[in-house]
């Protein structure tokens, strides 16, 4: 599982681009259902073009929760790209992570969680803009982390957040 700071719609595309071909094929991005099911174009892109794994940001009656969906994908041998901030930011540093990453780590303690820092994409295509400016950007991968045996939710999320921030310095 790759988890990264989230600054632009291109984020998961450039993570893909940075991965080797064989890994790219089995890697899917995880994104919010409420955003990507709004409108025909977004739905088409999410389902047909990028094969995104859509999860609910909040709990919805009668549907599998995000953690179970992601666990199922992982057990099929897929890799996932996760943006634990839950939304796109416009600062170099990510905002505090939400609990999704912790829930997944607690559910799947044997999976490697790889921190990724994406630099400068927020300037290439900021939230709300349509055309990208052709600046240079970079993706940095860190060494994987896992949930420690007696680590709490807050401690783990703090550690994961710091792992991403460190790569950006």
């Amino acid at each position: 599982v790759y988890f990264a700071n989230h600054t632009s719609h291109f984020d998961f595309v450039i993570i893909w681009a940075a991965l080797p071909g064989s890994e790219r094929k089995r890697t899917r991005a995880v994104a919010a259902r409420d955003y990507w099911e709004k409108g025909r174009v977004r739905r088409y892109l999410a389902q047909r073009v990028f094969n995104v794994l859509l999860v609910d940001r909040a709990r919805v009656e009668g549907r599998l929760d995000g953690t179970s969906l992601m666990a199922a994908a992982l057990s099929e041998g897929q890799s996932l790209i996760l943006f634990p901030e839950g939304t796109r930011g416009d600062k170099p540093e990510p905002v505090r992570f939400r609990s999704g990453l912790y829930n997944l780590a607690a559910n799947q303690p044997d999976i490697d969680l790889v921190p990724v820092y994406i630099d400068n994409l927020r300037r290439i295509m900021p939230k709300g803009e349509v055309l990208p400016v052709p600046l240079l950007s970079s993706v940095t991968f860190g060494s994987p982390i896992r949930l420690l045996p007696d680590e709490g939710r807050e401690d783990f999320l703090e550690r994961a957040w710091l792992a991403v921030c460190e790569l950006g310095r």
């Binding site: 400068n120 927020r122 900021p126 803009e129 055309l131 400016v133 052709p134 600046l135 240079l136």
Partner: protein
């Protein structure tokens, strides 16, 4: 802009080819003889640089031979790549997004378009006059006033260095010079050879004899010995090649010296900007050299002055 190929042009391109072959031969000799670790590193860097010179010379040579349009396209692509490297380091904010789009996708193609259609009047004023008011206005309309002065200044400077200045090199092809019809490509090639030779020779003289640094904090590699040796030898080269230009030997010497000195100043300015932004190179596109902007920094500052001096003293009518 009908560019018939003259005998002088053939000699000039042949000379460039000769230098490249000699450089490659030297790479082989050096890699045999050098055995220390630091020496090997220098040779590897030298190797990468020579290889990159082959690529750059071939691209530029082919562009020159295809006539005016080819050169304009190559220079406009260089401008875009340089602008990309510059703006990546520039402290712009979200409010500047539209202004940046305009610099890349409107002003840059337009500037080179003006060269292509030979509209000198607008070519000379579009970016400094119209761009100067339009870009800050676009940024201001987005309503973000934080560090506004810094942001707008840096966008304008980037546009001047990467687009406006560099566009003066292919604009040499448009000049109407007395008794020099159809031979402007030679003048452009002479200019590029002198600028780049000055860079290389300053580097070599600096490595061999460099002692006293010109501006140690800005650029530890630039020494007075390198500057003097490089400028004098590149001026010598430019003078020796006077027969491809519209100048007589002493005019060629003065022009070459001026080109070398403005080129040196350009390199120094661009080093200071890199220092300020905390990077060593502007990019990684050209192996052994850094980015495009690292290679054409001196050309950018020498081109407008060379263009205008030539136009003023040698232009017909």
């Amino acid at each position: 802009m009908n560019l018939e190929i003259h005998r002088e042009m053939v000699w000039l391109l042949g000379g460039v080819l000769g230098v490249l072959v000699a450089g490659t031969a030297m790479c082989f000799v050096l890699s045999w003889r050098v055995s220390s670790d630091s020496g090997r590193e220098t040779v590897a860097n030298f190797n990468a640089r020579v290889k990159a010179w082959w690529v750059m010379s071939i691209v530029f040579g082919v562009a020159l031979l295809t006539g005016g349009l080819g050169s304009i396209v190559v220079f406009s692509l260089m401008s875009l790549l340089a602008l990309r490297e510059f703006m990546t380091l520039a402290p712009t904010s979200r409010g500047d997004h539209r202004a940046l789009l305009v610099t890349f996708f409107v002003l840059t193609p337009l500037q080179y378009g003006l060269v292509a259609i030979d509209w000198y009047g607008l070519f000379a004023v579009m970016i400094p006059v119209y761009g100067m008011f339009a870009l800050p206005a676009i940024s201001a309309m987005r309503g973000d006033s934080q560090r506004f002065l810094e942001r707008t200044a840096v966008i304008q400077l980037g546009l001047m260095i990467c687009v406006y200045n560099i566009s003066h090199a292919p604009a040499l092809l448009l000049l109407d010079i007395e008794d020099f019809a159809d031979r402007n490509a030679q003048l452009l090639l002479w200019f590029v050879i002198v600028v780049q030779a000055s860079d290389v020779l300053q580097y070599i003289w600096g490595k061999l004899t460099g002692r006293h640094k010109v501006a140690p904090i800005v650029s530890p590699n630039k020494t007075w010995e390198g500057l003097a040796g490089g400028v004098i030898s590149a001026t010598g080269l430019g003078t020796a090649l006077w027969w491809v230009t519209p100048f007589n030997p002493w005019q060629a010497a003065l022009m070459a010296a001026m080109v070398c000195l403005t080129g040196f100043a350009g390199g120094l300015i661009m080093s200071a900007i890199k220092r300020d932004r905390g990077v060593k190179d502007y990019g990684t596109l050209i192996r052994g050299h850094g980015g495009v902007l690292d290679r054409i920094d001196s050309l950018s500052f020498a081109a407008p002055l060379f263009f205008h001096l030539t136009r003023y003293y040698f232009g017909a009518g």
